[in-house]
């Protein structure tokens, strides 16, 4: 019988393999033509690759226990945000606000913020119960 530990390892392996495969496939996709040349083909394809990689992580996420999930959520929220901001500040300080590097990093932060707000709104809506 497969132990919980092994099930978790298999699920983590699947998630890691999917992320690596997604990176390789994504890398190939962006080299299909000149940058921006096939945007409406490459962009949805890249999103689809990301979605498949996300889906492959679901079994691993579902197998994690509460404490492991809390550890990942707290670390990703605070650690991930702090790391991203530190990099953005470094770009801004080194190249100025209007450089392509800074703009790209700032757009990433904006994307994160918008997605956060959407997910948070969805989370709140999902957990809303009837008013008594």
């Amino acid at each position: 019988m497969t132990t919980y530990r092994n099930k978790l390892r298999i699920a983590a392996g699947l998630a890691l393999a999917a992320a690596l495969a997604g990176g390789i496939i994504g890398g190939r996709l962006v080299r299909l033509g000149e940058p921006g040349e096939h945007f409406w083909l490459v962009y949805p394809a890249l999103l689809a690759v990301c979605a498949i990689a996300f889906a492959a992580c679901i079994p691993w996420w579902r197998k994690l226990d509460d404490m492991q999930k809390a550890g990942h959520l707290v670390s990703w929220y605070w650690g991930g945000l702090a790391g991203a901001l530190a990099v953005v500040m470094a770009f801004v300080a080194a190249t100025g606000v209007h450089s392509d590097l800074s703009k790209g990093a700032l757009f990433t932060i904006v994307g994160q913020a918008v997605a956060f707000l959407l997910f948070f709104a969805g989370w709140q809506a999902w957990h809303r119960g009837p008013l008594a």
Binding site: T3, Y4, R5, D65, D66, M67, Q68
Partner: protein, 68 residues
Amino acid sequence: MRNRLRDLRHERGLSQAELAEAVEVSRQTIIAMEADKYDPSLPMAYRLAAFFDVAAEDLFFNPWREGR
């Protein structure tokens, strides 16, 4: 949250790894709960209580009811 997890585990003669495997959580989680470093969710508390066949409040002490 103070609890009797370690005592009950010892009574059953289980290691932390064996208990973790039995209730499908990580060993680190068992260690953290025993050390009062992590408060389990209600489902996890009930799962552990069911495993030891005790009431949840006999395993995890309700801090709002203690001292009554």
